[in-house]
Symmetry: C2
Subunit: 368 residues, 2 copies
Amino acid sequence: MTGVVRATYEIHGADARTRATALAVEQSHELPTEFAPDAALASLGVVVDFQQRSDSLAIAVVEYPEGLAGAELPQLLVVLLGNVSLQDGIRLVDIELPDSLVAAVGGGTRLGADGIRRVLGITDRPLLATALKPVGISATDLASMAAELAIGGIDVIKDDQGLANQGWAPFRERVLRVSEAVREANHASGNSAVYLPALAGPVELFEERLALVGEAGAGGILAMPGISGFDSMRRAATLLADDAIIMAHPSFLGGFTASLTHGIAPDVLFGPIMRVAGADAVIFPSSGGRFSLTREQCAAIAESSRKPFSGIPATIPAPGGGMSVARVPELVELYGQDVLLLIGADLHRGGDLRRSAAAFREAAVAAS
Amino acid sequence: MTGVVRATYEIHGADARTRATALAVEQSHELPTEFAPDAALASLGVVVDFQQRSDSLAIAVVEYPEGLAGAELPQLLVVLLGNVSLQDGIRLVDIELPDSLVAAVGGGTRLGADGIRRVLGITDRPLLATALKPVGISATDLASMAAELAIGGIDVIKDDQGLANQGWAPFRERVLRVSEAVREANHASGNSAVYLPALAGPVELFEERLALVGEAGAGGILAMPGISGFDSMRRAATLLADDAIIMAHPSFLGGFTASLTHGIAPDVLFGPIMRVAGADAVIFPSSGGRFSLTREQCAAIAESSRKPFSGIPATIPAPGGGMSVARVPELVELYGQDVLLLIGADLHRGGDLRRSAAAFREAAVAAS
């Protein structure tokens, strides 16, 4: 497909055909067609398919001229859902992008699932992730915690999203200390754990903090596109080393996924949108934990992280949010082998992080 | 109030008391309290008030230690709603911030309603705004359009949110041409219109484009915090000239406001959150137009734009999204005199923008 951004929307409620046409205009001209000069016809979104599925649900496919996005990721999001996010009953359920637009915004995912495995040197089992927490303890204590987890066998040790630049463990000190602790733990254990600091600070410190991640020898970053904007994640991908992992956290994105009749389908938000914005691993709240997505929605997220999408590499799904070691077999059955299992609090049960991490690793090996 | 971020949540559904306690933990430690070291008690969120209002609704007030936000706006958003945005039935309905935190993130709104009136030199009537559209016409044509609107009497002429850096009217050319056209129109008419270019481009071009806004003599910017992140708007406020207006657009924010049982109450999102993030004027979709907010929600937004909030100046509400000149009396009755009325497409009716703008101005004067 060349030259066209194709978006599929569910339209819930009455008058769906009229609303589909209005949507295409809203997301392009934002001006009734009778007022638009002929010269602007080349920038108008058009409904190319419409199907009324039931009294209260229709599916509309809209094609937008690629030029509307102006070769910039922020504007692509504006075109896909900017204004109509404010209208009831509109839900974005699929997107297709021209290769030229994907290339213009940097190509999306760099490492992806395969690249993360290559960096970690692990091909034969589900990957393991955890979070350093709670906020409120010192950088030294977080570093000790990271060392135990790395020695125990966790692959990806990320900051909790609650860690920023608070006084208890300031960003610079934390990144330096934890990176070193993980490096030493790897040296002692022969493991290849990586540490991903959370990066969602002030705009003016973005490049400085990214540079520190590199200098410290951290393995990449935990990005929060809901907080910092998706373009900030894309930009990070252009600045980080080629082997640095970008893991996306869903913080502040729940507005889009809470409703079945509005927003963005979770498998689109945590699938293609994260992929075009440069994520390598994508955290989402797994069913059966503390959050709201269903088992079917979660399976769809895993599916969409892998499906062919404009030549962008597959990301690795990272289900989390209240998972446990006991559930590893079930999670692997649901998500498949190519998954980055994220377990946080459950590893603290029993008070021995190294042992918990080892049990987590054993469970993953047994399920592989 | 010092040292505490206080957030009020509606909790919809069963087990609200248990969920309130879990929410306070989720948004601070993200770790069950029994696993947290004593040293971390100072960083734990606490439910300080809980009221069960009905079988399906409770109100919980949570106090978070100020230190959790780490003196950074992005992390404040993480604390207020980051993870629980992904839980059903949680809705943020009020926030109070310590003055020290507001100061640390730059003090919020600079000009606000009073400052915009001072810059424009207009004290005695509702203010008038419109948008340049549609995308797809040239910068020269947009500049001609802006001149007609400025001569006709519009105060604030903003880019449509659909204008970015597309080939039809690239950012640099557009900002230069439209700024000059508005300056010349003011010279000829004696009006004091300002032009606000839309600024939501790639992260790496943020400062360059902001600088161009200043060099071109544009009157400020149209910011899109839902696309670029709220911190990007805060940062713009630190870089723009003192008399530059920051107008916030609600693009891509509708996920938060679509539900009455989830997300963020519109009067919090378009009130305190926009104020702490530095907006001067706040666009929101007015009732009776193309979008979904009710009359009561809109009245509450106007109220919250003006209420005392940590010493941050009042913003001016900018209701839009399908408004018309015929509705000006009703809008002024709903929102009061201190409003920035945003009318777009309706001014194109009849094909004479200058005349439409003049009619808009007359209607506002008549309603004042």
